[in-house]
């Protein structure tokens, strides 16, 4: 092998230095390093791009048998919203509940639970994967989000579906508890398994699981599946909501794309 030390060595040294810098950046407080932060955020985008290239719009998350359903489905995040209006509705089986659909739509909607239940329904037994690493299997029934979006008529400029919720997260913010919200893109929103679920195991959702209406986005992690939905807004961008990352958990440091 003939050695050409200058050129190759220079390239290798520079490459090694760049990689080492990235490595060292990881050992520091990484969130304080703008370059490292940029790299990490970039990788979040790369995960999304790569999975979208592999995943068709129709490929389904695996579905399971009824006998696979978890005996104890773990409930985390908020399990009992404090909101007075919510509590009053919950006390009366959510008969007064109305889902608001607005933003970049032709026809803003207000849908009661009865109206949602009258729409086409889908029942699916799926695995719920939490970002923490655990999994539970549950049976969900709800109406495909796609149908609700079509009924409202999504404008061409809309790119994201933002979900506003009744629950708040008390994360020590001096200005008070933070309202919970989340978002998905239209690819996830229009997926056949993406439903607004009102039943679990054939019974109306319990409060701890997100009554009266929660999102199921089966090809992503649990933190995308907002509970206690009160309003759906079609938007071009979510940068002006919360801290601009597209959801409560995203604002707290999780990646927006949660297919991994």
């Amino acid at each position: 092998m003939v050695d050409r030390p200058t050129t190759r060595r220079t390239i290798l040294t520079r490459g090694a230095a760049a990689i080492a810098a990235l490595g060292l950046a990881g050992c520091e407080k990484i969130t304080d390093n703008p370059f490292a932060r940029q790299v990490l955020d970039g990788v979040g985008g790369l995960n999304r791009t790569a999975q979208e290239a592999i995943l068709g719009s129709e490929q389904l998350a695996p579905e399971y048998e009824f006998s696979d359903v978890s005996t104890m489905f773990y409930a985390n995040g908020s399990t009992d919203p404090d909101d007075e209006h919510y509590k009053a509705m919950a006390a009366k089986s959510f008969v007064a509940y109305k889902l608001v659909v607005d933003g970049l739509v032709e026809r803003p909607l207000e849908l009661t639970l009865a109206e949602l239940r009258a729409m086409p329904a889908r029942t699916q037994i799926t695995r719920h994967d939490c970002v923490e690493g655990w999994s539970c299997i549950g049976q969900w029934t709800g109406t495909p989000l796609q149908g609700v979006l079509d009924r409202a008529g999504v404008k061409a400029t809309a790119r994201y579906v933002v979900f506003y919720c009744f629950d708040t997260m008390d994360d020590g913010d001096p200005s008070g508890p933070t309202p919970f919200y989340g978002s998905v893109d239209l690819l996830a929103a229009r997926h056949p398994q993406t439903i607004l679920a009102y039943d679990m195991g054939g019974k109306p959702l319990e409060v701890k699981y997100g009554a009266p209406l929660r999102l199921r986005v089966e090809r992503q992690l649990g933190y995308k599946m907002t509970k206690y939905i009160k309003r759906i807004q079609l938007m071009e961008d979510f940068k002006d909501i919360g801290q601009g990352k597209g959801g409560y958990w995203e604002d707290s440091g999780y990646q927006w794309y949660a297919g991994i």
């Binding site: 080492a20 999975q51 995943l55 998350a61 923490e132 999994s135």
Partner: protein, 283 residues
């Protein structure tokens, strides 16, 4: 050595015989792998800490996990445990309960082993995926090159002669007698088998088990779940395979130290390895 009359009795004269042991691809990919595995291990332990238990199948057993790291309070003092089935081992100070910024804290793996040091799942995941991409890209370069140049065939498959003498080689290894001279020109059988298993079995298994934890990839490639028999099994395999890599690295580094740190480091940095022929042996 008996016919070595040029050398005073009792003294061996060491002749430096440098051979080109590692190609540039092996050296560069080796050190990128070292960086990646370090970052992946530490960020992986951070992620594991979010749910420090291991399960099998597709579901988590919250009440009776097969393997778990946990803690409880005895007389007001926190104790850390590793639980395997019904057995419980006190690991206070390292696993389950350890000091974080001077205060005893209930956490599975201690702060010094995780990245970031504090509990921060989001950043841990971001670091893990960053180095996972680098690791896979780097690994692909290595694998493609290794097959294309017949590096694996040549260097990772023991010769018939080596298979026949593997018993003696194991004994030599146990006595920490390392081959020199002509025999050191190639990897010995134990090295070949080990590198084969780590580079071509264990590390790819680790990657595929990692993919299986992704709900997106499970939708794209449902067979991933069938390979392992469930997402939680894949998670456990990922963990134990990482543990296997740690064991390999410990033995690997120990043998590097015992068989000549300088020579080994030189060969993995510059490529040149001294097979240390003793004068007289080959006269």
């Amino acid at each position: 050595m008996s016919n070595d009359d040029a050398v005073p009795k009792g003294k061996k004269q060491h002749l430096v015989t440098l051979v080109k042991r590692h190609s540039v691809v092996v050296r560069v990919t080796h050190w990128i792998t070292v960086l990646c595995l370090t970052m992946l291990l530490m960020s992986g332990l951070q992620i594991f800490n979010a749910r420090p238990q291991l399960d099998f199948g597709n579901k988590t057993d919250f009440d009776h996990p097969p393997v778990a790291i946990d803690s409880d309070k005895v007389d007001g003092k926190a104790r850390g445990y590793v639980r395997i089935g019904v057995h419980r081992f006190d690991t206070t100070g390292v696993l389950g309960m350890s000091d974080f910024e001077g205060k005893p804290t209930e956490r599975a793996f201690p702060s010094w082993a995780t990245l970031p040091g504090e509990q921060d799942l989001g950043t841990g995941r971001a670091i893990h995926f960053t180095f996972a991409w680098l690791f896979v890209a780097n690994g692909l370069v290595y694998l493609v090159w290794g097959f294309a140049t017949r590096h694996f065939r040549r260097d990772f498959v023991p010769s018939r002669f080596q298979w026949r003498h593997i018993g003696g080689e194991i004994l030599d290894h146990a006595r920490l007698r390392f081959p020199k001279g002509e025999k050191a020109r190639q990897y010995n059988a134990i090295q070949k088998i080990t590198y084969f298993l780590v580079a071509l079995v264990l590390l790819p298994l680790l990657v595929v088990a990692g993919w299986t934890m992704s709900p997106g990839l499970d939708a794209a490639f449902p067979f991933l779940l069938h390979i392992f028999g469930g997402r939680q099994t894949a998670r456990s395999v990922h963990f134990f395979a990482a543990f296997g890599v740690v064991l390999f690295v410990l033995v690997h580094v120990a043998l590097v130290l015992l068989s000549g740190l300088f020579n080994n480091m030189r060969s993995m940095i510059s490529g040149w390895y001294d097979i240390g022929q003793e004068r007289g042996t080959h006269g």
